[in-house]
Amino acid sequence: MRALVPVLTVVAAIVALWYGGSVWLNSQWTHDQAARVGVEVSLTGVVADTMMQERPVLPAPHQVAKGLWDGVMGQRITSKRSLVWHGWITLSATMLGFAIGTAAGIALAVGIVHSRAMDLSVMPWAIASQTVPILAIAPMVIVVLGGPPMNLPPLIAKAVIAAYLTFFPVVVGMVKGLRSPDAMQLDLLRTYNASALDTLIKLRLPAAMPYLFASLKVAVAASVVGTIVAELPSGAVAGLGARLLQGSYYGQTVQIWAALFMAATLAAGLVAIIALVERLALARMGMGR
């Protein structure tokens, strides 16, 4: 627990900076209000006011904390005001997209490693796909999949966009991992006259596991981002992205920040779960040192 002191110091510094920022950014409004009614405000009055505005430019940490608390604990979890409910909508699409993207990424990597033609033809597209801004492509996917004639539920359309961001780190990591066995290990299997399938299952896939887990951590965070971006243009009323969008329509900055923190917590939780699975899996494989 020696790390506790530096960790708390950093957290305290961030909170202090944040409060400073709140006072600085929100004081303009305080001054404007005071000027309108023609009163003088003291410095302490300004500081106190910047901490409790209804629609601050930058909400103070305790306002965001209260917003989070109200959103998570203050509502029935089935309520449309509940961050748990919105979080679940986002999480379900994230998980579906993550599963699709991971499966597609692994399948593509296996193909790329085994076929020179695929290596040459698929990899450039995979890279090109990631240079397209997700914000540009998400509305089109929502329209194509969610609108007529397909009329797929929003969950599917959002999962597709999440998968679009998920598959890329998985492909890159898995290609590297599947190619990680050295010439000697491949020669050894040739002396057994092993098939390509045997080589894949017994050597390449196990050797790729550490690479896969590193990729999955990047991919799951990207998957959360993809889902939230997909929730912005869908006219959706559900999900953290919708919550963000509503907040910005109505200038509810506290609501925006609370939703952002919810999303960050969600992503951090998912990364932590993958790290835990990684530790258990590699330990079971005798590589957990």
Binding site: M184, D187, R190, T191, Y192, N193, D198, M285, M287, R289
Partner: protein, 265 residues
């Protein structure tokens, strides 16, 4: 000296040449190599680096393909022999899979070759005791010393009962004390299993101590300069290395190596 001439030839090379095409032009790794290895022989290939000893072993294993001449293993092409799983190959590094236990590593070729579960267990037990690792089956490779890992890799090569064992500087990375012990154990193993062994080394004492036949090679192009039939008995305690006969053979190997170098300096 055994009846090598009468023994069934297991490996036959006739005029084998092998040229690698590189960016700097062709490299003649092997040139006009002819050699017969009989059943049950222990043959060492010795020479400086670049003499093609590893390439020759790899060609026998069908990991490289000669550009000239003919090479046969068990009366077949090397490729057919590889497909018939005619040999076990031991590399310089143990190359055990870190995610498999020692027993799991030895089981690897047996799984690929489709042995039944019961048969696999029995064979793993048998070969692990052959290399004196019977109590280490459940350990992971990183829990074993380098010498023990190399013994496990020998067990892996023995597991599927190939008649030929090809070893590419298997003890090259180990210290001399461990190497002496493993050499002694290898001879016992050879006596017990009656395998034909091809063994690449760059150590003269190791080659003389182990072999019934020593193939001396020289570089650029890789070729055979001398083939020495050992006169040492099959039973070889470690102190045989102090006998006059041993020293005489070692001397002849050294002469062969020097000759190979002479014409290029």
């Amino acid at each position: 000296m055994k009846d090598n001439a009468a023994a069934t030839p297991v490996i036959e090379a006739r005029g084998v040449g092998l040229t690698f095409q590189t960016g700097d032009g062709p490299v003649h790794a092997l040139k006009d190599v002819s050699l017969v290895i009989g059943k049950g022989e222990f043959v060492s290939f010795i020479g400086p680096s670049g003499c093609g000893k590893t390439t020759l072993l790899r060609a026998i294993a069908a990991l490289e393909h000669p550009s000239e001449g003919t090479l046969s293993v068990n009366g077949m092409t090397p490729d057919a022999a590889r497909q018939a799983r005619a040999y076990g190959y031991v590399f310089q590094a143990a190359g055990l899979y870190p995610w498999r236990t020692i027993a799991g590593n030895v089981k690897l070729p047996l799984e690929i070759m489709g042995f039944s579960r019961k048969e696999r267990e029995a064979r793993v037990r048998k070969v692990l005791s052959l290399v004196d690792l019977q109590d280490f089956g459940k350990k992971f490779p990183w829990q074993l010393s380098g010498g023990m890992q190399q013994r496990a890799s020998i067990a892996r090569a023995l597991a599927f009962d190939a008649d030929i064992l090809l070893m590419d500087e298997p003890f090259g990375a180990l210290d001399e004390i461990v190497r002496d012990r493993l050499n002694e154990e290898l001879l016992k193993l050879w006596a017990r299993t009656e395998k034909t062994i091809g063994f690449v080394t760059h150590s003269i004492p190791e080659a003389v101590y182990l072999s019934t036949k020593i193939v001396v090679m020289s570089p650029r192009p890789g070729r055979i300069t001398d083939v020495i039939e050992s006169t040492l008995p099959r039973e070889r305690p470690l102190d045989i290395r102090d006998t006059a006969e041993f020293i005489a053979i070692a001397h002849r190997v050294r002469e062969g190596l020097r000759q190979g170098h002479g014409d290029e300096i």
